[in-house]
Symmetry: C2
Subunit: 308 residues, 2 copies
């Protein structure tokens, strides 16, 4: 059960942090950009080579301290086929280094379309008698607006290939309440989605009593997260919104259960672009950007462990 | 305004049909598969060459009869970078042949992530001083569960580059009501999403008084569609669910306004795999699969025009 593997990795590293591999051109150190531009020109394949070198350096500098990484596919997809190749290469390398990979894809579709996403991302794709694993994420994120029809096609692959999903329940953006906080028969929409997520995960519970069907619950909505933690005892939380988005360790402490498990917290910019933060810039040069990320991981780990 | 161009194309072709380019390996005629397997092997690039030849033949056989095509990205994305390259190549060819392209991507993300999707799909991506158009869809579909934060980053590109979006309001799947039909303060969730979609499109209304911010409304939910048509006078509908999913022309007639505009109806399998349907198999051999698709387009056009 992949949720058990994730929790075991969190215990082993004593670190409930997932590093968001969401590179942007302005996060990439100039010395990397100059080198790839010389070779590839200022092209899509040039940027993707830069992203790859950047991601690899950050994985190499942090893999022993963290349980997981979460690449955000949009940051790669925007560059077309080269981008998708870089996303896939990054996932393969993270797995080679022993990390769990959460693909932040937020897909939402039904029937044969959802099956296509499911097979591509967490299952296998057949070409006649040949079978291919394409993206190889361990978990992916999914949007629930289309209901069970848009979740079910993933459950079978979760069972067959030891994979998991995180359903968007209460997202971290300021405006997430526009739909998610609407009142439906005495509860909020996100609470109903939370209940459904708990139900959808019934058949995928592991040794810690958490399911491989988890929920995305933003650190920026502390009261709601506290309530969800109580009501969804078998649902593991993927928590965005720490750091750059404004969520603090105190805000998200409520996402952990009494044993200090039950959640993994994402930080993207705060870790991968740490060398640009004045807190780290004084000790780490641009050349040592990955070491700045390592220090940011250590600081985040200690910050989270203070409250869980 | 892209919505005007779409409506003009519908008027010119007298056909409110969009052909869903959602190829599957079992739709591809054997003679195409054999040829590509000989050259590329039973590989991902082989399948994508087969998809491309299949799509090109269908576009060539139907482009003069239809206003638009709607490739479903999942069917390509599942094959990785080769798949994305084929999706992009298909879009480029459809546009070269004068068709409007609706990318069925159903993305849902916020802030810089939504910007990345928006720039990649309907805007431009910068690499230093170089600027690239990557996917080049005219419209894309979006999932609203994350609220305005997940829509706003697309509106600017809609204005700058004459693009549009279709927001998922009431989807065609049997189980769409699980969330979409929940009661919120006297109305259903999908009605609220419909109201928001109408508001979000205010600044993008064209000469027909429809907005380039449209809505996805399933043909399989006729009563709801009728009600939405009345309440959302400026919102153009993209209507899935005709044919294979069970929606009839009579069911979806309510999506058109009193002038017979206001909606475009998708058919995927019913058109692109027409040669496999016994209705067409007697007149068209597998070799003539694209001509079967042409006949299916004519039949669908006449069926829709009967009711609008």
């Amino acid at each position: 059960m992949i949720i058990d593997t994730l929790i075991d990795k969190i215990k082993q590293t004593e670190n409930p942090t997932v590093v968001g591999l969401d590179p942007r051109l302005d996060y990439i150190p100039d010395f990397i950009k100059q080198k790839v531009y010389e070779k590839f020109g200022k092209t899509l394949s040039g940027v993707m080579e830069a992203f790859w070198q950047f991601n690899k350096a950050i994985i190499d500098a942090t893999y022993d301290l963290i349980p997981a990484v979460k690449p955000q596919i949009a940051m790669y997809e925007q560059y077309g086929a080269d981008g998708i190749a870089c996303y896939i290469k990054t996932i393969a390398y993270a797995k080679e280094m022993g990390l769990i990979v959460i693909g932040d894809v937020k897909r939402s579709d039904i029937a044969s379309t959802a099956e296509a996403y499911s097979n591509g991302h967490i299952g296998k794709v057949d070409v006649e008698e040949n079978s291919f694993e394409i993206y190889r994420e361990d978990f992916i994120t999914l949007n629930p607006y289309l209901g069970w029809d848009s979740i079910e096609p993933y459950i079978e692959n979760c069972k067959s290939y030891e994979k998991g999903i995180f359903v968007l329940v209460k997202t971290s953006n300021p405006n997430s309440g526009q739909l998610q906080d609407l009142n439906i028969d005495g509860i909020k929409l996100y609470e109903r989605v939370g209940q459904l997520t708990e139900e959808w995960g019934t058949t995928l519970r592991g040794k810690y009593n958490y399911s491989s069907v988890g929920a995305v619950v933003g650190a920026t909505h502390s009261k709601q997260a506290q309530d969800l933690r109580k009501k969804l005892p078998h649902t593991f939380f993927l928590v965005p919104g720490y750091g750059a988005q404004g969520g603090t360790a105190e805000d998200l402490a409520v996402c952990f259960d009494k044993n200090g498990i039950g959640a993994i917290v994402n930080s993207s910019r705060g870790i991968i672009a740490a060398y640009k933060n004045k807190k780290y810039a004084k000790d780490f040069s641009e050349q040592n950007f990955a070491q700045a990320s390592r220090q940011a991981v250590i600081d985040m780990r200690d910050d989270l462990n203070r409250v869980r």
